[in-house]
């Protein structure tokens, strides 16, 4: 379904990802854990198509299509969703305008008729209710003045609306208190289904108490050094990364 193979990526002539590989099947949740500087956020950004990185080799394939050749917007409409660690604040663009533009782009790319404004509003409301998200935030400028929790909930709402096939959550737990974390995790759990896969990038085991992964990978120095089930995360929490990093 989603496969990254032999991915080597550099920035400013420094290699960050080194022959990185992972394979995610339909409906699977993979957690990637690792210390600071191991390349986790780079991985997320490269998959989504951020320009500042140089891809030296490798493939990122979603449902038999090579994503690395595509612009970020095309990757999105093909079904990749990146939940940002730090969602960007954009004054002057209301969340509603943003969501509508985004959804219209997706519908257009996939040959669907665009929603009318009332249909769109109804759709947003239904998704927000499903996820226990207060939809009043959509009237406000995008992420401006949002609390950490609101920003992440907004990311989850976008995820629900765009109906992606593979979601990469880049340290979604950072900056969240325990209640906000639970709410966001519940949102993700509601979006889990047999066809949608997740890569959950995190520093801490805490998030994995709420989002149960099928696989846990430890990433260090640009590659995966250990893979296991959810018990690996618990071990890691007890013993720290030092035991795994030789």
């Amino acid at each position: 379904m989603f496969k990254i193979s032999n991915l080597t990526v550099s920035i400013d002539d420094k290699e960050i990802l080194k022959n990185f590989g992972i394979e995610v099947g339909p409906g699977e949740v993979h957690a990637i854990m690792g210390p600071n500087g191991s390349g986790k956020s780079t991985l997320a950004h490269v998959c989504a198509g951020k320009e500042e990185y140089t891809v030296l080799s490798g493939n990122v394939v979603l449902n038999d299509e090579e994503l690395l050749e595509m612009e970020p917007e095309e990757r999105s409409t093909r079904g990749l969703f990146l939940a940002f660690q730090y969602p960007i604040e954009i004054p002057g663009v209301t969340t509603m305008t943003f969501l509508k533009s985004s959804l219209e782009a997706h519908y257009k790319a996939n040959g669907r008729e665009p929603l009318t404004t009332p249909e769109f509003m109804k759709y947003v409301k239904s998704k927000a209710t499903e996820l226990n998200i207060d939809d009043s935030m959509i009237k406000r400028p995008l992420n401006v003045g949002f609390s950490g929790g609101e920003k992440k909930r907004n990311e989850i709402l976008q995820m629900a609306l765009l109906d992606p096939k593979i979601c990469i959550l880049d340290e979604t737990d950072s900056g969240l208190d325990i209640d906000a974390l639970r709410l966001v995790a519940e949102g993700v759990n509601k979006l889990r289904n047999d066809n949608r896969s997740f890569i959950v990038i995190t520093h801490y085991q805490r998030l994995l108490d709420y989002i149960k992964p099928d696989f846990v990978h430890i990433m260090h120095d640009g590659k995966i050094i250990q893979t296991g089930d959810s018990s690996l995360a618990l071990d890691l929490e007890k013993s720290g990364y030092a035991n795994y990093i030789k």
């Binding site: 198509g49 917007e73 409409t77 969602p87 954009i90 004054p91 002057g92 663009v93 765009l162």
Partner: protein, 444 residues
């Protein structure tokens, strides 16, 4: 061939014009005072701190000669066919004053003599005492070379007195149309009496893209206690026009003055504003959007003086620069020792779309009172790559994402417009501008 010096040319132009004036005219002594000053001071140059970033002689070779190629239309119906905005205005009950080729064109204007609370006269026809007093007062306290030139050469202008009107807010349009090549000088006086409310909307447009016009235009505002004034200005000139706009405003107690300007085009445009918050409790907002492309140069200079206690001022300007254009913003807020509890904010943001464009910002605060809140900020940058990536990562195509970001940048300034109706007339123009901006072209 010896290159003409614009400063000398202007000196002799002013001398000739001044000596052609009737010594018995009401404005003679005021012109004389300005002429004496201009003889000494001449044109400002880059050694003058207020003109550091704008070199007039680089932008004007010579005074354009008057060309009578396009006759002034004889009736309004011929005129409005060329201007959609005028068509809309004709359908309203508003007051419309059209200036063309240096004078008020009454046949193109809409002036209802039955409106008892609005008095309108033309500077060229008769100067009532109240207007003479305002002009005279402003001249005695001011020392700006361009204002002196405007005073020597003022040909015509609207002298508008608005009295309190409880029924409805009056809309008054002052329309300047660049119709022929030439050098034109306008002086308007707007007096808003105590408790009156008014919307003053200025429109400056070029009739053709090849008109070579040089103009100076000054407005002196006097806003009495408790009045509410919304002022919107839209000026869209061709790439040959050089314009010097000056506005002086004296603000009384508990006044709301909300002013918004959209400027685009021009070879050189100098926007000078000096606002005196003389009375307490007033609230002043001066904001605008500048759109520059080609070789346009727009220099905005704002001076806000807080003289009385408890006054508020906000200045918010957004500029978009493309091609080889240059934007200059100088903003000075002065808080006098008596002006305690002043709230003053200034923000100047520029978005640069080309690596050959330049924006210079010089925000200044001079605070002599101790219990005030003043702030200023200036940013100059390009479209944020992070914002662009965020939008694209949600499927929004690059061009659309850029449009959203540019619109967002500009529309933030529009938040300052208090009475959104005053800007509705420009909604088509705004849409058009935003579309052009998103395609990377601001050409008028």
């Amino acid at each position: 061939m010896l290159k003409k010096d614009i400063s000398q040319e202007l000196q002799s132009y002013c001398r000739e014009y001044f000596f052609s004036q009737d010594k018995n005219s009401k404005l003679y002594n005021i012109r004389l005072g300005a002429y004496e000053l201009f003889k000494i001071n001449g044109l400002p140059n880059s050694k003058d701190e207020n003109w550091k970033y704008t070199n007039i002689s680089q932008k004007i070779d010579t005074i354009p000669e008057y060309s009578n190629n396009l006759p002034v239309p004889l009736n309004i119906n011929n005129f409005i066919n060329n201007f959609d905005i005028m068509k809309k205005l004709k359908e309203t009950n508003d007051t419309v004053l059209v200036f063309m080729d240096g004078s008020l064109q009454r046949q193109l204007s809409i002036i209802d003599p039955n409106k008892k609370n609005i008095e309108i006269s033309s500077l060229n026809e008769d100067v009532p005492d109240w207007a003479l007093e305002i002009i005279s007062d402003k001249h005695s306290e001011n020392s700006d070379q361009i204002f002196d030139i405007n005073t020597i050469l003022m040909q015509d202008g609207a002298l508008i007195n608005i009295k309190q009107n409880k029924e409805k807010v009056d809309n008054v349009y002052i329309v300047h149309v660049g119709n022929n090549n030439g050098f034109f000088n306008y002086r308007h006086v707007i007096n808003i009496e105590q408790g009156a409310r008014a919307n003053i909307i200025e429109l400056k447009i070029s009739n053709r893209i090849d008109i070579n016009a040089l103009y100076t235009s000054s407005i002196i505002w006097k806003l009495a206690d408790n009045c509410i004034v919304n002022n919107v200005k839209y000026q869209s000139h061709n790439q040959l026009t050089v314009g010097f706009n000056q506005q002086y405003a004296d603000i009384g107690n508990n006044v709301e003055f909300n002013s918004f300007t959209i400027s685009s085009g021009s070879k050189l445009l100098r926007e000078y504003r000096s606002i005196n918050c003389n009375g307490s409790g007033s609230d002043v907002s001066i904001s605008g959007i500048n759109l520059l492309d080609g070789d346009s140069h727009i220099d905005t200079f704002l001076l806000v003086k807080h003289i009385a206690p408890n006054t508020t001022s906000r200045e918010k300007y957004k500029s978009i620069l493309n091609d080889r254009s240059r934007g200059v913003f100088q903003g000075n807020i002065i808080v006098d020792p008596e002006a305690q509890k002043t709230l003053a904010k200034q923000s100047i943001d520029a978005l640069i779309l080309s690596d050959k464009a330049e924006h210079d910002a010089k925000p200044e605060l001079e605070i002599y009172a101790d219990d005030v809140q003043c702030g200023h900020g200036a940013t100059t940058g390009q479209i944020s790559e992070d914002s662009l990536f965020y939008l694209k990562s949600r499927g929004i195509p690059e061009e659309e994402a850029k449009t959203l970001l540019v619109q967002a940048f500009l529309l933030e300034a529009l938040d300052e417009v208090k009475d959104k109706n005053t800007i509705l007339i420009f909604s088509d123009v705004m849409k058009n501008i935003l579309n052009r901006v998103s395609k990377g072209s601001l050409n008028v």
